[in-house]
C-alpha cells in the first residue's frame, strides 16, 4: 500500500507534516534531516526540490532554495541522496517543487525514479490540472505516486468538489491567500474557509499548510482537518540552529 494512504488509514487526526528544502542547510543534509524527523515523530515529510524562481514561496523558502542551488543541489543529485533512504526511513515522503525542473528531467523518468527510491507523492503547484490529466497522470499512476492538488480560499466549492473527485492521497489546503511563510495566528476569515471546506465532506483527507508555525497554529488547523504542514518555520529553525539534530527534535516535540 502507498505509504500516504496507509498513514491516513491509520491516523485521522493531528497528522504532522514537515517541509524542508533539499540541499539546505548543506548539500548533504537531506538524509540526516529525514532520519531525525522520523525519529522525532513526524508523520509525513515534504522534500522541497529547489527552484531558481519559486513563485509561490515567501522569503524564507526563497532563501533556502537559493542556498540549496548554490550548494549544488539538483534533482538528479537528490535522487542519488535518496537511493537507499528506505532502508532507514519509513515515513511517507513527498517531493514538492515547480514544474520546470521536472519537465527538464522528463516527467516519465522522474516518476520512475520516484518509485525506485521510495517516494510516495508529488506536489507541483504550477502544473495545471488539465495538463496533468491529459499528459502526465498515467506516469504518476503507473508508479503508484499520489499527485496532490492544492485548494485555497479562492477556490470555489464547485472546483473543490471536482478536485476531490480526481484526487487521491490527500488534498493540500492552503490556509490563506498568500505565499508560503510563517504567521503567528489563525484569523476568523480563515476559520470560515476551513468550516466551509469541512462542510463539503470531501472523500479525501485534508491537510492544511502555509502559515502554520507552532503548536497553537498546528492544533487550530488540525481541528478543521486531518493535520497540518509546517514549512517556513522549520526551515528558519534550520537556518538559526548550530546543532540541527537537537534543533529538529526540539522543534517537533514542541509541536506534538
Amino acid at each position: 500500500m502507498n505509504r500516504i494512504d496507509n498513514l491516513f488509514h491509520q491516523k485521522k487526526n493531528n497528522i504532522l507534516s514537515i517541509y524542508f528544502t533539499a540541499g539546505h542547510p548543506t548539500l548533504l543534509s537531506t538524509a540526516d534531516i529525514l532520519t531525525e524527523l522520523e525519529a522525532s515523530g513526524t508523520d509525513m515529510i515534504e522534500i522541497g526540490m529547489p527552484f531558481s524562481d519559486p513563485l509561490a514561496d515567501g522569503p524564507v523558502i526563497q532563501d533556502s532554495s537559493a542556498k540549496a542551488l548554490k550548494n549544488g543541489m539538483t534533482i538528479k543529485g537528490l535522487f542519488d541522496q535518496l537511493t537507499n533512504i528506505r532502508q532507514k526511513v519509513k515515513t511517507p515522503l513527498l517531493l514538492m517543487g515547480y514544474i520546470n525542473p521536472v519537465l527538464q528531467f522528463g516527467v516519465e523518468a522522474f516518476c520512475k525514479k520516484c518509485r525506485e527510491v521510495g517516494v510516495d507523492g508529488i506536489i507541483l503547484p504550477d502544473l495545471p490540472m488539465d495538463i496533468y490529466q491529459e499528459s502526465f497522470k498515467k506516469y504518476f499512476e503507473e508508479n503508484d505516486l499520489r499527485f496532490i492538488f492544492l485548494i485555497t480560499p479562492q477556490t470555489s466549492d464547485e472546483r473543490i468538489l471536482m478536485i476531490d473527485s480526481i484526487s487521491n492521497g490527500f488534498i493540500y489546503m492552503v490556509s490563506s491567500s498568500s505565499t508560503t511563510g510563517a504567521k503567528g495566528s489563525i484569523v476568523s476569515t480563515q476559520v470560515a474557509y476551513f468550516e466551509r471546506v469541512k462542510a463539503l465532506k470531501l472523500k479525501n483527507p485534508l491537510v492544511i499548510g502555509f502559515g502554520i508555525s507552532n503548536r497553537e497554529t498546528f492544533n487550530r488547523a488540525s481541528s478543521y482537518a486531518n493535520g497540518a504542514i509546517i514549512g517556513s518555520a522549520f526551515v528558519k529553525m534550520l537556518n538559526e540552529t548550530t546543532d540541527w539534530k537537537k534543533g529538529i527534535s526540539d522543534f517537533v516535540k514542541q509541536i506534538n
Binding site: S52, D53, A56, D126, L127, L150, I151, Q154, T179
Partner: protein, 392 residues
Amino acid sequence: MSFSPDERGFYGQFGGAYIPEMLYANVEELRLKYLDIINNERFQKEFHRLLKYYVGRPSPLYYAERLSNRYGTHIYLKREDLNHTGSHKINNTIGQILLAKELGKKRIIAETGAGQHGVATATVCALMGMDCVVHMGETDVKRQMPNVLRMKMLGAKVIPSMSGNRTLKDAGNEAIRDWINNPTDTHYLIGSVVGPHPYPDLVAKFQSVISEEIRWQLKEQTGSELPDYVLACIGGGSNAMGAFYHFIDDAAVKLIAVEAAGLGVDSGETAASIARGTDGVIQGARTKLMQNADGQIIEPYSISAGLDYPGIGPAHAYLHSIGRTIVLDATDDEAIKAAFELTRLEGIIPALESAHALAALPKMKFLSSDVVVVNISGRGDKDMETYIKALR
C-alpha cells in the same frame, strides 16, 4: 485578421497557464471575461478615444531619409517614442486599466524593467484614480533612476525587488507573489506578451494598434499597405508583437525580431532567449527560456533593462518555431552604436531597447527598392546616463 491562441492559451505547443491554484480564480476570471470586455463597442470607443487624445495616436510613420541613404534602402520609423510617457507600453496600460475597471478592481500592480511600463502604469493609475504598486528589480532602480522618480511623482509606490539578479524577471516574480497575497481587489497589469493565458493574447491585442496604423500609413505614403520588412526589438515581445500582428498572415512581409545579445550570445552574459533558450515553463507560460540542464532559470544580462529577460512571449516562440519570424541579435556595443547613428542622422534619440532593432540594419542585405519599417519602441531620455558614458 486575428492571430489568437486556442481557448486554453496555446500557440502550438507554447503558452497555456502554468499557475498555482492561488492564482487560478483570478486568471480564470480574466480568461472567461477578457474577450467580451475588450470587444465591447463601448470599451473599444473609450480605448480609442484615450489612444487618440491622451496618448497622441496615431504615432507618426516617418520616412528616415538620411538613415535610408546610409543603408541604400527605404526605411520608415514607427514613432512609438512620441507616445505620451515615451514608449509603446502605454497602449497596453490604457487597455488594461479600462479592463481592470470593468472587473471592479481597485489596486493595480505591475513589474517593470526599464521603468517604461512602470511609468505607463503609474500614469493610467493617476488618470483613473487607482492605487498603484510597481515592482522593479533593485539593479534596474539604479540604472533607470529618472523613471523611478517619474513613477513616484505620479503617486505610485515603487518596491525594489531583492531576489535573483534584481532585474525584470525578479520584478515579475515579486508582482506574482503580490497578486497571490492580494487576490480579490488587485489587477496584475503585465507589461509584455508574457505570463499565463490570457495575458499574451490580451497584451498582443492592445499593442496591435501599432501594425494596424503602419498598414494605412504605408498605404498613404507608398501606395501599398505591405512593407518588405518589419523590425522590432524583443524583450518579452510586446512592441514586436504589436508591430507584427497585422502582418502575420501576409507571408511576403518578413518579420525580424532582434534580441539582446548582451556581451554576445555565446558569452554567458546574454538575454538572447530564442538563440540560447530551450523549451520550458517560465512565469506561467510554456515557451523558450534560458535555463541550465537541471531546469534552473539562467540569469540574463543586457545593458538594456527592458530586454534583460530570460524568456520570451509564447507567441514569439511559436512564430519562430514555424519559421514565420527571423530572430537576430545585437550586442550592447552594437546597440549603443546604432543609437548614436540614429541620433546623428535623424535627430532622434532612441531607447536602448529600440536601438537593438536599429542595430540589426547593418546585418541585413536590403534591395534599394525595399520598404523597411523599424519600430522605435521608445525614446532615450531614461538612458542618457548610459549614452553619456559612451560619449566619453
